[in-house]
Chain length 307, copies 2
């Protein structure tokens, strides 16, 4: 089976993963926004710790109406832009199209399923440190694995081929049997570190070194694992221990929300904070500490002035 891919959002994630697929000879169609003209003329350049590459001629579009129907749509937008999917997706869909949300947070597949009932939907969790360095220019600095998990109506053969394509494109890939569990696992890391690097204006290593912030990270992680268990994700507190140890070994790191904040871009507060807290509350658990971080982040975002 030859999968035809659409990549919605050709930035730090879409540019890297889509670029790797295209570099390996897969049929990939890229939607671009501000970088469209540049990429039409100069192609896509990826500087990767695993080896740089350049795609001279790529199938680039500035709207989805010009794109062919695809078998797999990789949504690599920031979740704040997901309202655009209602218009962006229809031209790309045929009977068997699966939409994969390569995004952070919780509740995003549910929201999409409400707009497109019956649509095959999966989630993609990127464990990667990458960013857009300039027009058509992506930097990949560390990690790079991706975890897929089916949300609804996944076709086994398509999912298997998706995983095979990523493997053939030199991307470490895992298929999670439980997407809900996988999303909560990622939140155990994302919730404390994203918010606290923004609010306290610092990086992961400094948060780990100070006893008070280290304790707060631990307390918040335990609130997330408790919430996860209330929401049907069988996540033990041992996983929080693993996340602490993994972060201790990491090089100092500014999470995506910190990069967004420093550049005065909208932060993914709804997907990473509000949605988990609301989901947990519906399940009878109040994420009191997470709400503090959420409200502080909302205040900070309201202070943005043009840089």
């Amino acid at each position: 089976m030859n999968i035809r891919y659409a990549v919605i959002g050709t930035g730090a994630l879409g540019g890297y993963y889509g670029g790797r697929l295209a570099h390996a000879g897969k049929d990939v169609h890229f939607l671009l926004n501000s970088d469209y003209q540049h990429v039409r003329e100069h192609g896509l350049k990826v500087d990767s710790v695993n080896g740089d590459f350049h795609l001279g001629a790529i199938q680039a579009y500035d709207n989805t109406r010009q794109m062919p129907p695809c078998d797999v749509v990789l949504v690599c937008l920031k979740t704040n832009n997901n309202a655009m999917l209602r218009e962006l997706l229809p031209p790309l869909l045929h009977r068997g199209t699966m939409v994969v949300l390569v995004q952070n947070g919780l509740g995003i597949e549910r929201d999409l399923a409400r707009q497109f009932p019956g649509l095959p939907i999966a989630g993609g969790l990127a464990f990667i440190c990458s960013s857009r360095l300039g027009p058509g220019h992506i930097g990949h600095f560390d990690f790079g694995n991706i975890t897929f998990g089916v949300y609804q109506n996944g076709d086994d053969a398509l999912v298997q081929q998706l995983c095979a394509d990523f493997t053939q494109s030199s991307i470490g890939v895992e298929l999670a049997p439980d997407l809900n569990l996988a999303r909560w696992k990622k939140l155990v890391w994302n919730i404390p570190y994203n918010g606290m690097t923004v609010i306290l204006g610092t990086a992961t290593d400094k948060l780990m070194k100070n006893p008070a912030s280290r304790q707060l990270i631990w307390d918040v992680m335990l609130e997330v694992t408790s919430a996860a268990r209330h929401c049907g994700a069988n996540l033990s507190d041992d996983f929080a221990v693993q996340m602490m140890e993994a972060t201790d070994r990491m090089t100092p790191y500014a999470p995506s929300m910190k990069l967004d904040f420093d550049a005065r871009r909208p932060m993914e507060i709804a997907a990473i904070y509000s949605s988990p807290a609301e989901t947990a509350l519906e399940a009878g658990f109040e994420m009191k500490k997470v709400r503090v971080l959420e409200q502080q982040l909302r205040f900070l975002q309201s202070t943005y002035t043009r840089l």
Copy 2:
């Protein structure tokens, strides 16, 4: 009865209240630290919204061993310096001396009582906006009332005379029948606004204007009133409503902790955050949101570098 006063710490609080007492002809003995030489030579200058005044010759000391025993000792230090009281107080005490802690926070009278069993102790809650403008120079910008409450072994006649002296010195004074309740009341305001102006780098009016930070302030206030009730202070949530409304009417205000942070002085985290949280925990109530603020403040204080 003529009370002889000692003022321990002649800064924003001690300089103002002690200065008013001396200006009204009371017998006041001031302990000074860095401003000692300046005040010996030039006296104490108070610029007050209620009228400026200057005390040319004041009874100034740079250690308590030279000071006479006093009837009332007004402790106007930052709580972070209370460990010094073990050495500072003994020369000032006679059989009937009452020590009044004109300070923020909770548990400070208990801590002092453990060091000086049986000592008459009271608390003083200053509702004032004042600061040290320079050597021997105090600015008083708004409010100014003080509430006293007896902690242990208060002599009725002495307490009544203390209140009368303050009134005669043009200071609004109230005698609280329940010091524990009075201290928790003040915390309803101090806990949200002190920490959040520091952590979010802003002032009270901006916190009140943004819906997210306004909600957080409200949530934290309710956590404080709940903790208060667990600790025997009969404080209703209506009081939080009053504090919100009062703050809405206030001119934009930087609380003392924000001034301390901006000047890279130690913040009163222990007295205003840790002690209430620990006291509530002993009473069976976990202040989850307050702990977040406490840990964030401790992190921020650890980042101080010499300005």
